[in-house]
């Protein structure tokens, strides 16, 4: 079967984990890995795995985009360079999946709004943050039943799974996730809290989601909606697991989740990184399926 050919920008942990996930996909094929350091371990590993590589940044990839028929690119670099990367690749008709906090395109949480983005043939979609991917489906599962006045999420991450970029820019993580809880989750007000825990052995990512509904919550319908949503996420993140809840206290609904990774390149405890790469892959697959069916066509953005 024909596959859509992809480029990965950024040869760090996220980029490397993406190779594994994309290689397993029935509709995607990883072709290029883009880095900036010729000596980098990530580029060497990509070469071993059969990918073409460049250490010349996105400019090193551009001359090969058309001849290699690259149609989807994943950006796992930083918010600072993403806009430029996206502009250059969009101009060649390459659809961009943004795993940085840049968020220049619409925010995407696959079981909530991916369909809508694919139908509109968005040329740049943003994957928000790990905490966003892990919690917004639950907020949405509540808000699609009853209006949610306030939603709050607490993400606990293993210290070893949080890279220097996130650490140095923790406020951006907070702002991006809080805003997405509102825009995609459907809560009128959103708040995100992050805790980095250094315990050894590293703790598996945990997330607690609390929603305050305007009216008394319908326990049966909300519980059913949450369980159905967990099933949707499990299709691309098998380690997405309900630990406790939903529990109800007045107008408060609380759900306690755990996210274990697949352990492809990243260790299992780093469910926070895995849910990003899995959601990005799922997003690319939806676009790829539509391209292969001929229902959408990517066009250069001029």
């Amino acid at each position: 079967m024909k596959k859509i050919r992809c480029a990965l920008i950024g040869s760090g942990n996220i980029g490397t984990d993406l190779i594994y996930k994309i290689q397993r996909s029935p509709v995607l094929e990883p072709v290029w890995m883009v880095g900036i350091d010729p000596e980098s371990e990530g580029l060497a590993r990509a070469r071993d795995m059969g990918l073409k590589t460049t250490a010349g940044g996105v400019d090193g990839l551009l001359p090969h985009v058309l001849e290699d028929n690259i149609q989807i690119a994943f950006d796992a670099t930083s918010a600072y360079v993403h806009a430029e990367n996206s502009r250059k690749l969009n101009a060649l008709g390459v659809m961009m999946i943004d795993l940085t906090p840049a968020a220049i395109g619409p925010l995407c949480v696959p079981p909530v709004n991916l369909r809508q983005h694919a139908d509109k043939v968005e040329m740049n979609v943003n994957m928000i943050s790990c905490a966003g991917q892990a919690t917004i489906p639950i907020v949405n599962a509540v808000s699609r039943i009853q209006s949610v006045e306030y939603a709050e999420i607490v993400a606990s991450l293993a210290s070893k799974s949080v890279g220097p970029g996130t650490r140095a820019n923790l406020d951006e993580f907070t702002y991006t996730t809080s805003s997405a809880i509102e825009k995609v989750g459907g809560a009128r007000r959103g708040k995100a809290l992050a805790i980095i825990n250094p315990a050894e052995p590293p703790m598996i990512m945990r997330n607690t989601i609390s929603c305050l509904t305007d009216d008394e919550p319908d326990h049966v319908r909300i519980t059913e909606s949450i369980l159905q949503m967990i099933g949707e996420v499990q299709k691309y993140v098998p380690g997405y697991r309900l630990v406790n809840g939903p529990i109800y206290d007045g107008n408060k609904v609380q759900v306690f989740m755990e996210v274990a990774g697949l352990g492809d390149y990243l260790p299992k405890y780093a469910g926070n990184l895995d849910i990003m790469t899995a959601a990005a892959t799922r997003t690319a697959e939806m676009f790829a399926e539509e391209i292969l069916k001929g229902s959408i066509t990517l066009k250069p953005v001029v």
Binding site: L193, M203, R206, T208, V243, I247, Q254, F256
Partner: protein, 342 residues
């Protein structure tokens, strides 16, 4: 050791750490009353925020009676000599909230991280300095990192711009030798002009002894709270500490009798429960658990029929840290399930 003539800066925590012990229910009027009395007693720094600091108002940490802005702007203009400080834990509070606290009159900040995660604070420390605030890097749960590790983390905070680095015994677990080792290691690596502070909890009754040990090892700033109004068994009781300092000839600039009156006449009548070493707060100190977990564990224990002590010990075993209050309910539910109660 002779500490005669040493100068130490006291920092009161009643109106921040004490918020934990009051389930965040201190009114603006009470804040003003307490702060005014502390100011009059000569306490140079008074921390005023939600117990979780800036951004603390949440389902996770409880909603206070007023916003941080309301508290700070009510207290700050009334101060004759004291500076109002705030707590900022990155991941919970943000720079926007720090700017807002500054605009309301806050002039000092504890930027707090877990004792191994100092590198989550560079933006916030640099921003506090840019605002011209007295800026502290605050290493919480310091018993979970050894002396060399604390020294490395403190050095990072100093490199971001922190003027003071604190060893924070959030669990009230440390003994005087633990304090001395960590403060001594910091003193050996930090610039001479960088100050060192100690923030104790009284869960093992060691608040005073640990604070004196800290001064012996080079600390010049000590946090406490009048009558010990703080999380767990409370902070180092500040009026007791002031009396000990006076006996030892350590200079604090605080009027001992006045601060004793604040404790007895204002703070103790405000308490919802006697803040003291009881079975649960002793468990915190013994098991090395974050002091703020105390009341959450009692509530979760009551709801699910599991003893608060069992929950606290399990949280210690799972190495939960400050900010993970949601895991208290989660742990209580899991324990209740295992015991066939849920």
């Amino acid at each position: 050791m002779d500490l005669k003539g040493k100068k130490v800066i006291l920092h009161d925590m009643c109106l921040r750490d004490g918020m934990h012990a009051k389930r965040e229910q201190i009114s603006v009027e009470q804040m003003v009353k307490v702060a005014t009395a502390l100011d009059d007693a000569g306490v140079p720094y008074i921390q005023v925020t939600h117990g979780g600091g800036l951004g603390g108002n949440s389902l996770q940490h409880g909603f206070a009676l007023a916003s941080n802005e309301e508290y700070i702007s009510a207290v700050a203009p009334k101060m004759k000599q004291a500076k109002v400080s705030v707590l900022l834990i990155p991941g919970l509070g943000t720079m926007k909230e720090l700017q807002s606290a500054y605009d309301c009159g806050a002039r000092s900040v504890h930027v707090a991280t877990h004792c191994t995660e100092a590198d989550t604070s560079p933006q916030h420390i640099a921003f506090a300095r840019k605002l011209g605030m007295d800026t502290t890097g605050f290493l919480m749960m310091a018993h979970l990192n050894d002396a060399a590790g604390i020294a490395r983390q403190g050095k990072l905070m100093e490199s971001y711009g922190a003027q003071t680095v604190y060893v924070t015994d959030s669990a009230g677990y440390m003994l005087p030798d633990d304090v001395k080792a960590r403060i001594g290691a910091l003193r050996a690596v930090l610039k001479p002009e960088t100050e060192i502070g100690f923030h104790g909890h009284h869960n093992l009754g060691m608040g005073i002894a640990n604070s004196i040990a800290a001064i012996e090892a080079g600390a010049t700033r000590i946090d406490g709270s009048v009558a010990g109004l703080g999380a767990g068994a409370g902070n180092t009781p500040l009026e007791v500490f002031a009396a000990v300092c006076e006996r030892m000839g350590i200079e604090t600039g605080v009027d001992l009798f006045k601060i004793m009156d604040v404790a007895e006449d204002i703070i103790v009548p405000m308490m919802d429960h006697m803040v003291r070493v009881d079975r649960e707060s002793l468990t915190l100190g013994f098991a090395g658990v974050y002091s703020t977990f105390l009341l959450h564990a009692k509530r979760a224990g009551d709801r699910f029929g599991v003893s608060a002590r069992d929950i606290l010990v399990e949280l210690g075993r799972k190495k939960m840290i400050g900010g993970q209050e949601d895991m208290i309910m989660d742990t209580a539910m899991t324990m209740a399930k295992e015991r066939g109660l849920l």
